[in-house]
């Protein structure tokens, strides 16, 4: 029930009244520093970096380090995502440096530059599900199997994985950020090649190269495909959907409640489940597809 009002009472409200109530409820979850995301970003990076000496000095078997590395790389994006939306600290806030630090360093395992991710992600929010303007539009697929096939093929040398991001940066006059991507790719390849030619190719493959591929697929599935599927509505309340993940909220990276993120991007990830529960009735009245959550009372 939203704001202690019954569904019937909510439906009786005028448009502006419902709008004001929705914003008031959402406001309760904003303006909080998500310290958990800060700890997550820094801790995850520290663990991933520590795997390298632990493996190279034979302290930790590579067979154990590999699944940890996969987890680290898969978990590296979301803290940066909080920073992309200035959730940790807005411009002018004394902790703005921390926001930018987390944004930059947490995605190091993913080998992708914060500034490119931020600029293209803002375009995704501005043009969600627009076939021409949403840089993430190519992720759409008719089902999970089709997604996995496309995800693999789009990353091939002749695939279109990077084209949409480059085009989006050109549209917003931020083509210079492509230099960040070139530098990151150069560093990634230099590390892989150096490790490979000093007799540590398997370690490099299992600590970074393969985890990065697995994590990219996993992140795209839960952050892009699942919450935006089928990707045919572009209006504010239709861009995303609620869904109940078979693997739960943690393993689906909190994306079951991605509706909240698109409506109120300043709400921290950790607060989106609670915000969703409080706003669910209003979202249904607004025409949101809340998926299997429609049958739940809370």
């Amino acid at each position: 029930m939203s704001a202690a009002l019954s569904r019937a009472e909510l439906e009786a409200l005028s448009g502006p009244e419902l709008d004001a109530l929705e914003r008031q409820i959402a406001g309760r979850y904003m303006h909080r520093i998500p310290w958990s995301a800060v700890a997550w970003g820094l801790g995850n990076l520290t663990i991933w970096l520590s795997l390298w000496p632990l493996v190279l000095f034979d302290i930790l078997p590579i067979a154990w380090a590999f699944p940890i590395a996969v987890l680290n790389v898969a978990l590296s994006y979301l803290p940066s995502h909080e920073a992309q939306h200035s959730i940790i600290a807005r411009e002018g806030h004394p902790l703005r440096w921390l926001n930018e630090l987390i944004g930059h360093v947490s995605v190091i395992p993913l080998g992708q530059p914060y500034r490119v991710l931020k600029a293209t992600h803002m375009e995704h929010h501005a043009h969600t599900n627009n076939p021409d303007l949403d840089p993430d539009y190519a992720v759409h697929a008719k089902d999970s199997w089709d997604f996995f096939k496309n995800s693999l093929l789009r990353r091939q040398p002749g695939g279109a994985a990077q084209d949409a991001y480059g085009a989006a940066l050109a549209r917003i006059d931020k083509e210079h950020l492509l230099l960040d991507a070139v530098v990151y790719n150069l560093i990634f390849l230099t590390v892989l090649f150096a490790m490979a030619w000093t007799g540590h190719a398997i370690e490099a493959a299992l600590l970074w190269w393969l985890p990065r591929h697995i994590a990219q697929t996993y992140i795209q599935y839960y952050l892009s495909w699942a919450p935006h599927h089928p990707g045919i509505r572009q209006e504010r309340y239709g861009q995303t959907r609620g869904f109940m993940s078979k693997v739960g909220n943690l393993l689906s990276m909190g994306m079951q409640f991605h509706i909240i993120h698109h409506l109120y991007p300043r709400i921290p990830l950790s607060s989106t489940p609670a915000a969703f529960r409080d706003l669910k009735d209003i979202l249904e009245i607004r025409g949101c597809d809340v998926g299997d959550w429609a049958d739940t009372t809370k």
């Binding site: 096939k149 693999l152 093929l153 789009r154 091939q156 040398p157 002749g158 695939g159 279109a160 070139v182 790719n185 150069l186 390849l189 892989l192 090649f193 490979a196 030619w197 007799g199 190719a201 398997i202 490099a204 493959a205 190269w209």
Partner: protein, 65 residues
């Protein structure tokens, strides 16, 4: 721009990373080949895969649409 594209091209990746990786896997599989042969085999396989990926636009048999 051409230099950057060349650096990021599949043949470079095939020789720079896949080659030594395949060589290490050959050694790990205990084929007992003479010293140096695994690396040569790795470079041939990795380089060929890279050339194929460059020509077909894909590291797999399936081409991106």
């Amino acid at each position: 721009m051409k230099a950057i594209k060349f650096l990021f091209s599949p043949p470079i990746f095939g020789l720079g990373f896949m080659g030594p990786l395949i060589a290490e896997l050959i050694v790990l599989a205990e084929f007992n080949l003479p010293s140096g042969v695994p690396l040569i085999a790795g470079l041939i396989i990795g380089g060929s895969l890279g050339l194929m990926a460059q020509a077909r636009g894909s590291w797999f048999w399936v081409k991106p649409s």
